[in-house]
């Protein structure tokens, strides 16, 4: 994960208009592993990158960043080189004080690396400095105004970017110092010495420098300044003259360069490289974490990884409507108490006299139609019908077309039919109001408006 990828995904997510179904289809098509959310986002980017504008946020930032990086490298190298040139300036009158060189090649880098370590713990530390705010404002110029700023919204990214750039600068600063040192020792004869107002014995300095040289002393013995070299190169600025001790073996004074080069390489370059590596890693992790915590990314990942479960019918049902505007024929109350035949639709024949008694009606014959009867049996009964007919039906059972077919056949034999809706025993065999209303509606709908219903 680098900043360009982050910005591309960021911009894509902000402008994305895909539906949940499209996202899920993408995940299934590409067999994305839901345990690797970052890979999912990158795969998403690869698939949709053509939707990004030509001059997207990432390309704008990259262009700006490359320029800035080049400037940083050049300036840092120049400063390092220049600083080294200053401290290594040898006129021949005085030897070069290695303490000055150690200051810029050892102390200064260590100090800045110490600050850097502090920044690892608290990355927002650098936001206190106005330079950081200035750089943030510069970055803003290159951000899409329509988008929420990817850096200011998530300052941790910006802080790590800054830390990485600082390390690059510091690294090239150190390389400048090293280059200057190597150039000078190659092109001229330099006498190195050490000089300090502090009461440092050669022995103490030897111990200190041997400790500093531990990382390479096992491999390069010449890289460790010997005690005799240290004793010999102790310079006292008294009377502006070179001491006799130093003049005894002048060629030794130049041997310091190995130590100086190696300590620059180790402490200013190598350690800096490690910190640079760590800060790159932290930037990488911060970018990952920030990307994965973007609300749009979380929504996308959720929709990529969540199966779309649907249980509903895709088409809205249009129910069959019964026209309520049709006027129900006002039914005349039944006036007959005696019928030619009492028919029971889907009743047992034995039940019919009981119902007749409830409704105080009588009949010559009781017959059962519908129910378990065959169609031929029904036909035979209907053929013999004449006169007034009472038809008992179950009020709780809605009439089907089988019933209406039967009614059709009956009405063709005789028009004088009275319907009795038989309810539950618990209701004295009387129908409920809603059952009555339903039957009336159904009969009207099927044009049996002449059939009387007993109320």
């Amino acid at each position: 994960m680098n900043i360009a990828t982050y910005l591309k995904i960021y911009q894509l997510l902000k402008h994305d208009t895909t539906t949940q179904e499209q996202r899920r289809a993408f995940a299934l098509q590409h067999h994305l592993d839901d345990r690797a959310p970052l890979q999912q986002l990158i795969a998403w980017l690869q698939y949709h990158k053509q939707e990004l504008p030509r001059k997207d946020l990432a390309s704008q930032y990259t262009h700006f960043d490359e320029l800035l990086l080049l400037l940083t490298v050049l300036i840092a190298f120049a400063i390092g080189f220049g600083a080294a040139e200053v401290v290594l300036h040898y006129t021949g009158k005085e030897p070069v004080n290695i303490i000055h060189f150690l200051f810029i090649s050892f102390l200064l880098p260590l100090f800045s690396m110490g600050l850097s370590l502090f920044a690892f713990i608290k990355p927002t530390f650098f936001s206190r400095f106005s330079l950081s705010s200035l750089i943030q404002k510069l970055l803003q110029r290159f951000e899409d105004k329509k988008l929420q700023t990817p850096f200011l919204e998530y300052p941790h990214i910006f802080q790590w970017l800054l830390i990485v750039r600082i390390h690059i600068g510091a690294l090239w600063f150190a390389l400048g110092i090293l280059s200057a040192l190597l150039l000078n020792v190659t092109t001229q004869d330099i006498a190195f010495s050490w000089s300090s107002t502090l009461s440092i014995t050669p022995h103490a300095l030897h111990q200190f420098l041997s400790t500093l040289a531990l990382p390479w002393s096992w491999a390069i013995e010449q890289g460790v300044p010997s005690l005799s070299l240290i004793e010999q190169s102790h310079y006292f600025r008294l009377g502006n003259t070179i001491s006799q001790t130093m003049l005894q073996q002048p060629q030794q004074l130049g041997q310091w360069w190995k130590f100086l080069a190696l300590q620059t390489l180790f402490y200013a370059v190598f350690l800096r490289l490690i910190l640079y590596g760590i800060s790159r890693y932290k930037l990488h992790k911060t970018l990952q974490k920030t990307l994965l915590s973007l609300p749009e990314a979380q929504t996308l990942l959720h929709q990529l990884n969540t199966p779309i479960i649907q249980t509903q019918s895709p088409i809205q049902e249009q129910p069959l409507c019964i026209d309520d505007t049709i006027q129900h024929t006002p039914y005349k109350p039944a006036i007959s108490t005696h019928y030619e035949t009492i028919l029971g639709y889907a009743f047992n024949t034995q039940e019919l006299p009981l119902f007749a008694e409830v409704y105080h009606i009588t009949a010559k014959t009781f017959k059962t139609i519908g129910g378990n009867n065959t169609l031929q049996e029904d036909d035979a009964i209907i053929q013999n019908l004449q006169g007034e007919i009472a038809l008992f039906v179950k009020s709780w059972e809605v009439p089907t077309m089988d019933f209406f077919d039967t009614m059709e056949a009956i009405t063709q034999k005789t028009p004088h039919i009275t319907l009795y809706l038989i309810g539950y025993k618990t209701n004295n065999y009387k129908a409920k109001q809603e059952e009555q209303a339903l039957w009336e509606k159904m009969l009207t709908h099927h044009n049996f408006t002449n059939v009387r219903i007993h109320r």
Partner: protein, 466 residues
């Protein structure tokens, strides 16, 4: 068909469409007391990522069963060939409107669907159903009977005896009262109809469980967003004339309350839609709790915390925050941190119990001022809002998609004790604080808050089952 299919068939008006509506979690299925509402067979597939796991067919009721049976019985064939005669019937009468409903219900069965025959055991058994059951036997497909109870009477005993002659399995299922567990039980029964369907149906049970969890999580996230938006809501009103200060304050407060009501209403609609209750009957602009005002004392006492509970929660939460400081200093503070935190927490809760929020005056350039109300200062209000939302969601989660009546909200004070235990209150208070401090309000915080809501909903489900 490669996946299991089931045709829900039966006499008209026995609850077939209600059963399909409940099993398919679809409140758009046309249900009516008028028989013949369903005129065509319609598929309700369970789909995962577009792939059909199983299909339910809602069908019209039998209309002319005796005629169809009479036609079939004119052919004397072996039992294993009876389905071919049914196929012949369909082929010959495809364009005959007389048998339209029978064709619609038989077609999916002949295409391989298992039969789910629905009866209403709140009505007495009658021999007129036997023609229907006999026709279904001719189809030679695995079949089960579902006993529904539309009304309160129970004639199950006589029904079971009769159904046992025709069907492999008999189960009772009331789509109006059925719980999520009942749904799963029916699916398990459907799996036993055909050995080949066992694995698919078992997968679908896992899918339903996953779906139920997803719906609960989505609803919880909506509630979390509602709480965050409501707590963080602010409104401004320009103040042109200082003499009208009180009037403008009152105006702003009214607008603020209305805004909160609107937020709540939108969240409830969102929850409805998420739980597939798009057609749930409720008035367009009314709150679900029509008879209870969000800001009334009754609402506060029903869902909010009592003063005592609020003080206890605020004190505990404040003490915990202060205690962290004590810990940082290894106790050298003499636990003053915890004590101070507790005092600050409790006094804040005590003072802020009655008012919703402060109206402050903001000064702007050129002397123009404006009034600002919000964010929410009242410590109790989030609990009121949350309690209502959880109550509503819990009702919807258990509201059958077969029900067509308006959802009645009958609030019960004991509900509050079920959802806001002392531990839960402490957990919630932490997040309410984070919502108040806007800079901490991230998606991750909402997700964590939603997780607490999911836990509460799960606990409510368990309590209902027990």
């Amino acid at each position: 068909m490669n996946h299991p299919t089931f045709a829900v068939v039966g006499h008209p008006n026995k609850g077939k469409s209600s059963i399909v509506s409940a099993l398919a979690l679809d409140d758009g299925v046309a249900i009516s007391s008028i028989p013949g509402t369903t005129h065509y067979n319609r598929s309700y597939p369970l789909r995962v990522d577009g792939k059909i796991i199983y299909e339910l067919f809602d069908t019209p009721g039998f209309q002319r069963a005796r005629k169809v049976l009479a036609w079939l019985e004119q052919y004397e064939v072996r039992a294993d060939q009876k389905d071919t005669i049914v196929a012949k019937f369909i082929a010959e009468h495809k364009d005959d409107p007389t048998f339209h409903d029978e064709i619609e219900l038989l077609e999916p069965i002949l295409a391989g669907a298992g039969i789910i025959y629905v009866v209403d055991a709140s009505k007495p058994y009658s021999s007129e159903y036997e023609a229907e059951m006999e026709i279904l036997r001719w189809c030679n497909q695995p079949s089960m009977a579902l006993i529904n109870h539309i009304e309160e009477q129970d004639y199950s005993h006589e029904w079971k005896k009769a159904l046992g002659h025709y069907f492999k399995l008999i189960r009772t299922y009331n789509p109006i009262k059925a719980t999520y567990q009942d749904h799963i039980t029916i699916l398990e029964s459907m799996a036993h109809l055909n050995e080949e369907w066992m694995q698919s149906i078992k997968n679908s049970i896992d899918i339903f469980k996953q779906h139920h969890q997803q719906l609960r999580h989505q609803a919880a996230l909506i509630i979390a967003t509602l709480l965050q938006d409501a707590i963080q809501a602010t409104l401004k009103l320009p103040l042109y004339n200082e003499a009208l200060l009180q009037e403008r304050k009152a105006q702003l407060t009214t607008r603020y309350e209305e805004h909160l009501r609107t937020l709540e209403h939108k969240a409830y609609l969102n929850i409805q839609h998420t739980l597939h209750h798009q057609n749930l009957q409720t008035s367009a602009f009314d709150l679900p709790f029509e008879h209870i005002d969000l800001f009334s004392n009754e609402a506060a006492s029903l869902f909010g915390l009592t003063k005592k509970e609020l003080l206890l929660t605020a004190t505990t939460s404040g003490a915990l925050t202060g205690g962290a400081i004590d810990l940082a200093f290894a106790g050298h503070t003499g636990f003053l941190g915890a004590l101070t935190g507790a005092l600050i927490g409790s006094s804040g809760a005590y003072i802020g119990f009655e008012k919703l929020s402060e109206v402050t005056i903001l000064g702007k350039k050129l002397g123009q001022k404006e009034l600002l109300i919000g964010p929410m200062k009242n410590r109790n209000f989030p609990y009121i809002l949350l309690g209502r939302a959880i109550f509503y969601t819990h009702l919807l989660l258990h509201h059958s998609h077969a029900k067509r009546q308006q959802l009645k909200i009958e609030m019960d004070e004991s509900f509050k004790e079920q959802i806001f235990s002392a531990t839960t209150r402490n957990q919630l208070e932490v997040y309410h604080k984070k919502f108040r401090a806007k800079k901490h309000s991230t998606q991750a915080i909402r997700e964590e808050y939603a997780a607490i809501i999911v836990t509460i909903l799960q606990q409510l489900d368990k309590q209902e089952q027990n």
